[in-house]
């Protein structure tokens, strides 16, 4: 029973301490990275050219393609 209590108390304590350390390190790291290695500019969208015009058509095309891929993969080669 004593062992169970030990594990619970120390265990929970260590988990919290460790994650507290991680929060601190992460926050410091983020500050450092943002200050010293700023990103050129968060790119608005991965494919701006294709995004604007016809998302519906693209969605349909993508669906067809995905099905083609699926069939391609499932075929008994």
């Amino acid at each position: 029973m004593q062992q169970g209590l030990d594990i619970t108390l120390f265990g929970m304590g260590i988990v919290f301490t460790f994650l507290l350390l991680l929060v601190i390190c992460t926050t410091v790291m983020s500050r450092v990275m943002t200050r010293f290695f700023p990103e050129a500019e968060p790119a608005a969208a991965p494919s701006p050219a294709s995004a604007g015009q016809s998302t519906v058509g693209n969605a349909r095309l993508r669906k067809i393609i995905e099905e083609a891929i699926k069939q391609h993969r499932n075929r008994p080669k």
Partner: protein, 437 residues
Amino acid sequence: MENLANLWLSSGANQMTIGQFSMMVVCLGLLFLAIRKNFEPLLLVPIGFGGILANIPGANLALPAVEAAMYSGDAGVLAQLSQALGLAGFESMESLKVALENAPAAAAERAAQVAADAGFSNGMLYNFYNVAIASGVAPLVIFMGVGAMTDFGPLLANPRTLFLGAAAQFGIFATVLGAVGMSAMGIMDFSIADAAAIGIIGGADGPTAIYVSSLLAPDLLGAIAVAAYSYMALVPLIQPPIMRALTTEQERRIEMVQLRHVSKSEKIVFPLVLLILVALFLPDAAPLLGMFCFGNLMRECGVVSRLSDTAQNALINITTIFLGLSVGSKLAADKFLDPKTLGILALGIVAFAIGTAAGVLMAKLLNMVSKNKVNPLIGSAGVSAVPMAARVSNKLGLEANPHNFLLMHAMGPNVAGVIGSAVAAGVMITMVRAMGG
């Protein structure tokens, strides 16, 4: 005619025990839940199928050569086995089993040589288990794949949510206490190592649970894995009542500020920061978190997309197939049908409930000390069960406030929960070993 008699004697219908029959029904039930109810099918289909295979009477698929020799060998083989294991001669099956379990490595090898000379070989599922789980490799490779699928963006945008992932691990430790308590009261007979392995069910993370129980309590692995994956599938049923009971309508309506943009470099450096902290303070968590961070670094660094793709697809799929069948091998009737299994199932759901509650309460505590309010519904996502728990948070948020999209905010504590339970696993392994468990 003698041949026909032999065939009938060796057939399953003749040899099947009630236990094996019941386990087959249980495994068919698992398959039904997986296929019809979509209960974590990627794991429960292989586990359930492996469980059926493990319970085929006479096939000995889940047994090592030595045990197959014990069950199917003649008197000569039994005498030789007894001798190899240091007994004076064959007395009873029970004493032979005990001798095998406690045999030092050299005696175990002599016994294996006797079995090999008598023409017995390891069962297929036993080989899978040995290669995939006993070596530790399968859960680690799956964890690497999970790392390669994880986006730490939401966590990095709001690192405080790590506390929610920490709090939800209280379910793990409370369960350990519960298991030890049940043993103290004489209801069950769990060692401290058993208790630690059972507790990890509350981590709601399959590979972590399998890894820990393969180290601390291999005999309970089947029950622990089944409990972990079943309850993960039940998250949409288990969590909502607890979440509603612990929050007010007002709290559930809280809208959170949009997450800031997280740069690519932050995402690259984060797994290294986590790795170094693990290296400094928790070496026993290094295999699990090391592979997880490695997967995540491959994903984010952008220069090894070939490897990251493979880790997320072919490699994790192959590993999942063999991991599932191997876990199934632990559903053999003589090991699974034990009062302990009921204890494990009962403790597991308590662990989930306590973890959920602790996450929600931690979120409310955070709100007391900080001005940027968090919606306490995202606290429950701290148990991990990615991404199911985050979706549950989102759903309850939308119920309270139709404009409240919590999904992204809940992904922070959700992935924090993965880290949290791996940390808890490391702590547990260290402490149990120190206690000589």
